[in-house]
Amino acid sequence: MSTVRRVFFYILTVITLGILTAGLINLLSLSFDTILARFTLAEIGDVKQQLSLGIAMVVIGGPLWFLFWGTIQRHAAKDSDESGSSLRAFFLNFVLFISAFVTVFTFTLLLVWLMAGCRPEQFSPGGTAALIVFAAVWVYHWRVSAGEEHATRVADTVRRWYTYILSAAGLLWLASGIVQLIYTAFIAFPIWDGVIVRDSFWNSGTQNALAWILTGGMVWAFYWFYMAGSDSKSSLRQVYYYLFTILGGAIAGLIALTVTVYRVLFWLMGGDRDVVDYFQFLGWSAPIILVAACIWFYHLRKAEEEAATEHEHQLSALRVHHYLMAFLGLGTLIAGLIILLGIPLDWAINSLNSEIIVTEAGWWNNHLSLGMSMLIVSVPLWLYYWWQINGMADRAGAIERRARSRRIYLYVIIGASVVMLAADLVNIVYQLLNGVLSGSLGLEALRNMKWSLQTVFIALPVLIYHLGIARQDQLLGAETGAAARKVTVLLSDTKSPAVSLLELKLGYKVRRIRYAGQPAYNVPDLSDARAEQLAAEIRAAPVDHVMLVLFEGNVMVLPYEEN
């Protein structure tokens, strides 16, 4: 079957499955309504219309779906390449993705209804019908998908996307449900002033939170522990770890921590003392910090454990984490300093302007609290991680300075600083020139360039400092790149730490091939000095290809050429 024909069949299968599903939901919903006797005589016309539409969709959509899907299945049974093909993986995971999401949302609705006391008038026939039909669609396609063999790499990747997106969504639902539940409980405590009417704790908010905890927990447990449990080497898993859970957890926790410190500082400085129950914000900020810390810590440990099997992987994981956290810390530090710098600038403008007619009491304290809270959170964070990074760079030398994550970190900061400086300088020069040419250079121009002045004063030292680091790295060989040889290592145990040590010294990966003869030779342990010596020999090789043979305490370095 040609690719175009296959695409045609898969698209029509999706469309006809949609029609069949909608028809079945319609009919099931109608059945629930009939059982609950919800109709009045006046509505009977609508019911007939709904019934007719439902039957029509099932009668037309059903046979067409059987026809198209049946054709695909027959083709898959004959052609082993079809089962596990990329196109089929797209189709199956698309259907699984949609049906999983609808099932989760409708299941949560059902849980809320059950927890609210199963009142017939609150029952949602449409939601329950959708739950049954989409759950059936999911189970059927799940079974088909589980039976697939010989999946291509693309098919595996599509499958991973589906798994990690659902895993991330499940974790998000679980985490937000926990935060919501704690917040609802927190504000329900009988400690807050001025409450004259209090709803029962067992309200719709609590029920919703519990439903999302249950559903999110189940989804996350299924996709993370069962589906993704054995997938420890994929790149997408690293993206999930470092960009979603570790970075996401850190960002959420730091934002909540900054808001908490900001509001406590603002209160300590006398702001919003008249606001009743000011500290209710702790009900959401404290659980966010707690939940985010749990997510961050668990995934960081898990990523480190998985990377521990290979020294270079472990180092990369550690490095990525350190640079991400340092980046977060530096970003928050810059933001805090910009806000704090606004205070003296504002003060200077106000000193020149005698026409201030109103200033709210919290105006200055708000600036100070926000800036200080950002500094309190970011300075220890950035200093800790930046110190660790500097230590790594001092220990590993050019290899560390050449690391991709370090280069990205430095160039993103330098690039962002340059862009920020350019934008600020454009505004400052524009305001000055405009003021001079229109004869209105004065307070108005200063007001208009205030934000640019704040950011330019901070962006400049940040740029200078990181340019200095980049220059230092360059002098130590970070930009030259190692003259990488194509190194192949022949040994009995391809997981030997000796090879990882050699890779570390070379600064790049080598190809490992396993000696399959008998008896297996022991791979010699390499001392640090011996590994360095071998790396030097490889670098000095007269040709690009080098083979290393490691056996029984001996190492042979054999430069060779391919004809």
Partner: protein, 154 residues
């Protein structure tokens, strides 16, 4: 000491200086009371209207609006007070006069209102709204005919 560490030390000192100046200014000089302008002037009327809004004394603020003109004409106090409801939590503001023009029975006062509302990292937390108040003279008092609502607090 390495060059980068020397830089770091210098930046640390800069940070301490900025923090020191900011804390000193905010704690000592920042909350000084503003000078009250004459009540029978357009600027003084606008100042008292804004001060009443700041103190959430909306009945008093309503008294500075011209009842028979512009937007206020069709509005009762109840309707006006509803339109003034705004999220004030954790936001603060200050106002400065930019320019005023006074004629015999009418005047305009241009005011810059800086509203502090944090909006994500590296975003300017201060939003400046420029408002032109139009006033008219009724007897010996100046009253605000426009704007009646306080959109500029958003």
């Amino acid at each position: 000491m390495k060059t980068s560490n020397r830089f770091l030390l210098v930046f640390g000192i800069i940070i301490v200086v900025i923090v020191g100046i900011a804390v000193t200014l905010a704690v000592t000089g920042g909350n000084a009371p503003v000078k009250l302008l004459p009540e029978d002037s357009p600027e003084g009327t606008v100042q008292r209207f804004l001060m009443s809004v700041k103190d959430r004394d909306y009945l008093k603020a309503y008294g500075y609006l011209a009842p028979q003109t512009g937007q206020v004409k069709s509005e009762t106090y109840e309707n006006w007070i509803r339109s003034t409801q705004t999220s004030r939590e954790s936001s603060s503001w200050k106002a400065s006069i930019l320019k005023s023009t006074v004629r015999e029975n009418s005047a305009t006062v241009e005011v810059a209102v800086d509203v502090f509302r944090p909006d994500g990292p590296l975003g300017n937390p201060v939003n400046t709204n420029r408002v032109t108040f139009i006033l008219q003279k009724e007897g010996d008092r100046w009253l605000i005919s426009q704007p009646a609502d306080i959109w500029w607090l958003y």
